[in-house]
Symmetry: C2
Amino acid sequence: MEKYCFGVDVGGTTIKLGLFTVEGELLEKWEIPTRTENHSEAVLPDVAGAVLGKMKEKGIEKEQVTGVGFGVPGPVTAEGIIVMNANLGWRDKHVAKELEELTGLPCKGGNDVKTAGLGELWKGGAGSYKDAVFITLGTGVAAAIIVDGKVILGSKGAAGEVGHIKVDKEIEEACGCGGAGCVEQFASAPGIVRMAKKLLAQSDKPSLLREGEVTAKSVFDAVKAGDEIAKEVAERFGHYLGYSLAAAAAVVDPEAFIIGGGVSKAGEILIEYVQKYYKKYVWPGCRDKKFVLAKLGNDAGIYGAASYVKM
Amino acid sequence: MEKYCFGVDVGGTTIKLGLFTVEGELLEKWEIPTRTENHSEAVLPDVAGAVLGKMKEKGIEKEQVTGVGFGVPGPVTAEGIIVMNANLGWRDKHVAKELEELTGLPCKGGNDVKTAGLGELWKGGAGSYKDAVFITLGTGVAAAIIVDGKVILGSKGAAGEVGHIKVDKEIEEACGCGGAGCVEQFASAPGIVRMAKKLLAQSDKPSLLREGEVTAKSVFDAVKAGDEIAKEVAERFGHYLGYSLAAAAAVVDPEAFIIGGGVSKAGEILIEYVQKYYKKYVWPGCRDKKFVLAKLGNDAGIYGAASYVKM
């Protein structure tokens, strides 16, 4: 009898789902919208409906499914309780238990970034390393800290909140966390856009960025084309991210940094800028770490989610 | 038949030794000088002589000794090889193997700060926490990072090199590591003295520190007496150390920070200054961490060393 498992990656706008064999082969993936009205009350029933619907469609029986793994934004305890998430309007929500009741299947999960880190560890670029930092650059900046082959949780599920290492004590704009000067304000997609717009406003220099919408992608495309303002943005991005990864290296001494998230689609050029400043700031004994791009892209979350229940 | 083990803490000037029961009761402790001439060639034979001499003195047979644990400065691999230590003049030295040959006893060890962290975990103030950062403020600043009840090594034994997190990009003086602006330059005993001397030279304010030798202890004693210059030194100390511990919290999310080393003898007042800035810089979700002083003092190293071989 063939065995299957599901991986579910709950994001702020879409929920990604994957049907896997227990060996980790992705058979099918699809998305449904995240309905956030009324404290996202529809989200878990929608996930359950999608899973049960797919089983019916494929003629898969309950005893053939080892479980449903999930990744959700925000700190998640070892018991699968999401402590707090502002976007979904959830607080102390026992996601694992509720989803088990809705599906009748074993459910297990964790924080979305840690889950994506697990995915990269299982089937992506992180698997070759026992000690690594998987960092995602997207709407925010967050990390999965891999120690001795495992993603660590920390005492309250907050290990890897490296996006909130302070890197600039002068900045006035507040970060979403309530502080100011966090690396997330410079190395996330919105952070890169904000820096670019500021530099464009401060100078009269011609720039490719003056045409069309400014995005993290358009900034790095302009860097590749030699654009001066875009290069200045990339320097600042590299400076702040390199600095904070140097601090992380002093704490956990990873073998490699694996960079994922939407911003990482800029490619290898991004690594050049980060590594330049990383080497400047890091303790000499940690200078020669590998910097690699994540391999699974947007599928890292569903792979990692499936890995919770694959056995 | 009673069983024993030894714990050995190799420092730059003295070697501390302890005779323990396998349950971890310290029966006797003593010190011998560290003879560093000729790449410290006498150090391991001296340790072996001290251990074998104590066994003879007490009438302890070889089969009664479960082993000799050791802590040595510098990065140490899982196999007990010290990668490099400038003070002792050692490089790629297989301490465990050499000490086994000299004593005929099982030998196992690690980096001195990680070893002291193990000691605090086993018999001191860290034992109540599964996730903690044990930080020593002495000649340098270093940490043992405790994750899920274990001191982590990192990929090259360099986890916990938090003393080299960069906290001041303006400073010109170089750190021992070759970089500049490391927290060690402000929060170590020599760093505190350097800051105090600089402030004394820059102002004409009366200060208790103008009489007698300036030490980390005299600075914090003067703080307690309300001395203005000493208080300014303590603010800077707290600012830099608090900032770097906030960065460490964003990586590993510990339950507590345990502060040891010579500087920690200043007592609870030190924690006030560190915590003030820690709370300022840390991600809000990590604000309420415990800050406690280490309990074993200079004995943490021999306890931790004994813990390697206690079984």
